[in-house]
Symmetry: C2
């Protein structure tokens, strides 16, 4: 049993250490004996399950079908698309021994599955009737990373990867943009995180894609986190893999492709957007426990009896509620569920029962709300909705106040130091983008969809510029 | 587009070929470029999702929590429990290169995760308050198999593995037996498969377990298929891994362990228990599509209009329904959804609409039932329940008629030739068990829970015997 009353590092003292402390002490994860391969503990995995549950239902409504592709890719197949290989080769894990025998064509543990989907699509797509194909898989992928951090950069992480094929370029690009909107909605509805959306620059786009779109979240320390991407591939991969179909016009055509994914990075975003010096603060709809009931003087029989009655009322409403009747002190329990970021604490003591008046304590701002038993379920449902809105608005305010329009390189650097996005005009020259990165370690996070210019000169070279870019330090 | 009207091999001509034909033509799976690593296509994966959905809800009600453990196990950690290593070592896949560098302690791709769970439990269990621990994970595992068959024996397959820790031996054994009951219920409720349940012999039990329990299903060809197992470990692994806890009595104790799992083998069981010469026959509650609507003369506008109306009625009831309005002929569609084993076909043609009288065709026996629009949803819900019962009873009758009480080795061998279980008395000597295997290639599938003796002499050596065993050829 870990002692929950150990204090965690303050965010202002050492944000990185605070993050690690929260990951461990809120029991989201643990380290395994292999660097970068983390254990997703029940509390952390349950957050991922809620994200899966939300997205999977939405995917299915869009006609997406789940599949499961092999864990391994033969090296020879992996090498088929050159640009893609170059992007991933330095960080692959390779299996070379099977049943103690050398494997002739070594097996790459999938870092992403584009080539597997393309190889399969080449076999099953032959007629216009076979299109569109909208496949997705939930799985783990492996990237042999040198520097790893829980949820943010791992040698293994969990994700979903959608790979889709369409008869026309328009449909494929539309798919990439439609799923980006869905990811954005996931932020609004479930994670209480406002994202910045936009297109990636040539330098930042996915290996092999023609266009990459991304959602970016701004962390409490002012650094950006790429939280999800969608890609439009044109027909490049399809040509490489010999995918074609006979149209209604009886002609052979090559289909157009998109792909998209989000990962357990979203858990990292949840921690760093909402957390505070007492630990996690979870938005209600993604929280594994929405309400924790803490009995006071639980040795008195009427207390546990009433606590169980209130538990049943909330559980029957479909709320995720936990009654902690362990022999820890109430003080220990307060600290424990604060650390775990449970949105509402419901206290049940003898006096509360006598007065039919219970305290609901909000994790996000510590405020107390009172309720009687009769209105308990309604009041809690409303309070969860209120907390979600408050958390979203707070994060939105933080985001808006950290997007700074800049016109000079000095101003870009100042934003880099203070945290947030430098919204700058850019001529489109990769050298200017590279200069910003070299001087300030800030990367082009995206070309936001709102491209209203605030200047007409490139922030770097001063030449004519009509592109709006968000630069930031990033995870 | 594959031609669905290709005939498949008859079961009586070549059962193995029939099985492969069905796997491919019902689009359950496809082969990848690596032997034994199959692609779970949407129709096959969706069956697995229904199984997951059923079990996961039941697990959660029992207080089981989902986690995700790393994909890889360092060889040094894997070697910690000798018996376990010996059981798995010949069939592991090992990664030896990461980012093009040699990995000093090679990484075994998990064939099962006992050692990972134990390693983690050693860190997080220290007090009586930390027990019980009931963790489960849904994942894929890798076993480098020489002979592979889709769903039955793969180099990679999907499964769930539960690993639990308790303060007492009784609780741990109870857990193994309780989950076995749950697996049995999965058969009755979802798969329409009756299982034979029992304990495994010493020879057949899991590497490292004290007791192994299993559910066995009987395939159409008379061979048995182990469909799930649960294990009681005692405190053996816990001692090896240094897991202990401080009790309420302030003494250090070692906890007791169980584990349990079912895999995508269950899909193989579904195919071979229920399938027929026209393809798959799926029980209604696990079927990805429960009702397929086939429009007749769909160019007439009233046909598709009505087909969509009926679709909406059924979809709004939460039924899994598909309307196939593609430009294939009705005959093609009939064959397609027969191959895919869809429980009910609903035909919608001009005359049906005019008469408000629709044909429902049952996949399991080809019989037709008629309904008007008003009673459609009710009639279909009832018909699905009827089909489930019919399929379960048919499989149960087949099972019962293939359990043959035997008293001599010749009779054992005869059952082996004809298919089914030879229910025999056994003295408990492993040599007798081995003799049956050597002579007839039949293994002890289990010591069934009903141990009522029909003789008092061992079927092999003739000595005094009080154990009832089911011998069979097995997948």
């Amino acid at each position: 049993m870990e002692n929950k009353n150990d204090s965690i590092t303050s965010r202002d003292v050492d944000f990185a250490q605070w993050y690690t402390d929260v990951c461990k002490k809120a029991e989201l994860m643990d380290y395994s004996s292999v660097k970068g391969f983390i254990i997703y503990r029940p509390y952390g995995y349950r957050i991922w399950e809620e994200i899966q549950h939300y997205l999977d239902a939405k995917f299915k409504k869009l006609g997406v079908e789940n599949v499961y592709m092999p864990l391994v890719i033969p090296e020879s197949l992996f090498n088929k698309e050159k640009e893609h290989v170059t992007g991933f080769a330095p960080e692959v894990l390779e299996a070379t021994l099977g049943g103690n025998q050398k494997i002739e064509d070594p097996l790459i543990i999938r870092p992403t599955s584009e080539v597997l989907f393309c190889d399969h699509y080449a076999k099953i797509i032959s007629s216009y009737r076979d299109l569109p194909k909208k496949y997705n898989q939930w799985c783990s992928v492996v990237r042999w990373e040198k520097t790893t951090r829980p949820f943010l950069r791992g040698s293994e992480f969990l994700w979903q990867e959608g790979h889709t094929m369409f008869a026309s370029a328009e449909e494929a690009r539309h798919d990439a943009l439609q799923i980006l909107e869905l990811y954005d909605k996931l932020g609004r509805d479930l994670l209480a995180i406002p994202f910045s959306k936009g297109r990636k620059t040539e330098k930042e786009k996915f290996a092999g894609a023609l266009e990459t779109y991304g959602i970016e979240a701004l962390m409490h320390d002012g650094k950006a986190l790429q939280a999800g991407t969608t890609h439009y591939f044109g027909d490049g991969f399809a040509r490489h893999f010999g995918i074609s179909y006979l149209g209604k016009d009886n002609k052979l055509s090559v289909p157009f492709q998109a792909s998209w994914g989000v990962s357990t990075r979203l858990i990292g975003a949840l921690i760093m957007v909402h957390g505070d010096d007492n630990g996690l603060v979870l938005p209600p709809y993604v929280a594994p426990i929405q309400v924790v009931i803490v009995p006071i003087q639980q040795k008195r029989p009427e207390v546990l009896k009433k606590a169980h009655e209130l538990y049943d009322i909330l559980a029957n409403k479909g709320l995720r509620v936990k009654l902690d009747d362990s022999d820890h002190t109430p003080g220990w329990k307060y600290a424990e569920y604060e650390m775990k970021g449970v949105p509402i604490r419901l206290e049940v003591g003898p006096r509360d029962i006598e007065n039919d008046c219970y305290n609901l304590v909000k994790r996000n701002d510590g405020q107390k709300v009172q309720t009687n038993e009769n209105d308990l379920a309604n009041n809690i449902e409303n309070l969860l909705a209120t907390i979600h809105q408050e958390m979203y608005q707070k994060a939105l305010h933080f985001l808006k106040s950290h997007i700074v329009e800049v016109k000079t390189m000095d101003e870009v650097g100042k934003v880099g130091e203070e945290g947030g996005y430098a919204k700058a005009m850019w001529c489109g020259d990769p050298n200017c983008e590279a200069a910003v990165k070299e001087r300030f370690q800030m990367t082009a996070r995206c070309l936001p969809f709102d491209q209203s210019p605030h200047d007409d000169k490139c922030v770097c070279c001063g030449k004519k510029a009509d592109k709006v870019v968000l630069f930031a330090k990033a995870y």
